[in-house]
């Protein structure tokens, strides 16, 4: 019940992200979500893509340093208060959030949160018990198919 996030090392200088996205374009890879964490001299780009295996192959060939991390993709109603509800659930059950980012899709009134937690199993247990819907990697592309 997890999605595969690809984290990529990028230098903090002009044109790095453009160059990276050009590589995805060339290989027809679609991104569902993107987040960039920046330190003084470098950045860590985190993306969720439709085809993580293909992306990993492309990045390896292009010489990027990257890692693949299992993260949670959580579906919540796209309306005020729904994020609070979900976060409280995790907090009350002692699940610590390392970082998170969001994406939405065109067709439904749904929003999606990517959650990076230390203990995936525990988080899945808590969320499932409370009826929160989790999207796994294989179902991600369905979200975008229309």
């Amino acid at each position: 019940m997890t999605a595969k996030q690809i984290s990529v090392f990028l230098e903090n200088k002009p044109g790095q992200l453009a160059e990276f996205t050009k590589l995805l374009e060339k290989n027809q890879i679609n991104m569902c979500a993107l987040s960039l964490a920046d330190a003084e001299d470098f950045g860590i780009l985190r993306i969720i893509v439709d085809d993580s295996y293909k992306t990993a192959c492309v990045l390896k060939d292009a010489g990027y340093v990257f890692s693949i991390t299992k993260v949670l993709a959580v579906e919540i109603p796209d309306k005020p208060g729904s994020l609070v509800h979900m976060l409280e659930m995790l907090g009350e059950n002692d699940v610590n959030l390392e970082y998170t980012y969001a994406f939405t899709i065109r067709k439904a009134d749904r929003a999606y949160m990517i959650l990076r937690v230390a203990d995936n199993e525990r988080a899945i247990e808590v969320l499932s018990k409370n009826g929160v819907k989790l999207i796994c990697q294989d179902n991600l592309s369905d979200l975008f198919a229309d």
């Binding site: 996030q5 090392f9 920046d38 470098f42 890692s67 991390t69």
Partner: protein, 433 residues
Amino acid sequence: MPNYYQPEIECASREQIRAWQDERLVNTVRHVYKNVPYYREMMDQKGVSPDDIRSVDDLHKLPFLTKDDLRNAYPYGLLAMPLSDCVRIQSTSGTTGRRVVAFYTQHDIDLWDDCCARAIMAAGGTKDDVVHVSYGYGLFTGGPGLNGGSHKVGSLTLPMSSGNTERQIQFMCDLGSTILCCTPSYAAYLAESIHERGMQDQIKLKAGIFGAEAWSEEMRQDIQNKLGIKAYDIYGLTEISGPGVSFECSDQTGMHINEDHFIAEIIDPNTGEVLPDGEKGELVFTSITKEAFPLLRYRTRDICVLNREPCSCGRTHVKMSKPMGRSDDMLIVKGVNVFPSQIETVLMNKGYPANYQIIVSRENNSDKIEVLVEMTPEMFSDELSRVSAKEKELVDAMKAMLGIYVVVKLVAPKSIARSEGKAVRVVDKRKLY
């Protein structure tokens, strides 16, 4: 009016200097052959006996000594006197594997202090001066050397050591320091700080003796203007004694080598062949008055030119140019010796491949060292804090290895410039030579 500490030596005739050198060289060779197995073996291997060395003309027959020899012989292998006759140890700023220790008898210290006293008096020092020593004290020879020289001159000595700029300036003002001794980059920093505080009218400095790192003529002008002083260069190395192997006079056109204690040669660093005066090559020293730690034909790796033209100051000892470069890959950053191999060792110790580049620059007359390290999967994580922690680990390890703060910058794999497939390890942006 020129100012000498030992005029009869400093202005001796060339014949006299040569006579001292001949006699002292012969004695030193006998001394080390008899007392140091390491030398005996080296000389035997080269088929040269002490009897073959009858004057300076025979110097070229002796084998060279390198930093590797000093390392191999660490700690006591080149000691020429019983330890019970030694009173002091000093050490180079190099670190693990490169550290060199030198031993001194009381007599050695006396002669070293004399050399520094000559430098202080050449810079106009007298017993009425207040000599402010901001070189580091401790294993580093800078502080102890100038401190001893200042005592010999009879000046009032302020053993400030390095750091704590606030206190340095306070003492300088309150106690009326007249001669400042420190690295040129610290002098520039002090000058800057004094101006920031608007205290330039409260200082009484008239001269500075600056060494232990390379500095340009522009930097000299800058320091001289900002502090309203005359800035003198001084040269030395722990292996040979410390600061005061050579020093600058009022002429400011090179440093007089104390030839009654050290014989200088210039060689071709590739062939080892001795080059005539005036040609550029590697500086080689033979110490001829030391008891505990005499070195024969020690290769300094500094590239210099010797000049025997008569000097306006009246001194007759040969002058060496400022070092114009190195014949090895050693860098001197903030007065500290840095070898690229040390950076490599840190990376290897942490389990990373040695893909790095050292960039040295000088901002506001202060050295900055930055090490680019190519990112590897082992170092990488999706969490920023983990990557930053690994970066910090490298900074700490390099600080521990080199003794100075290094900026580590993580860069993309294969991004470090490679020339003909070989990575460029050092980029020195300082225009020192």
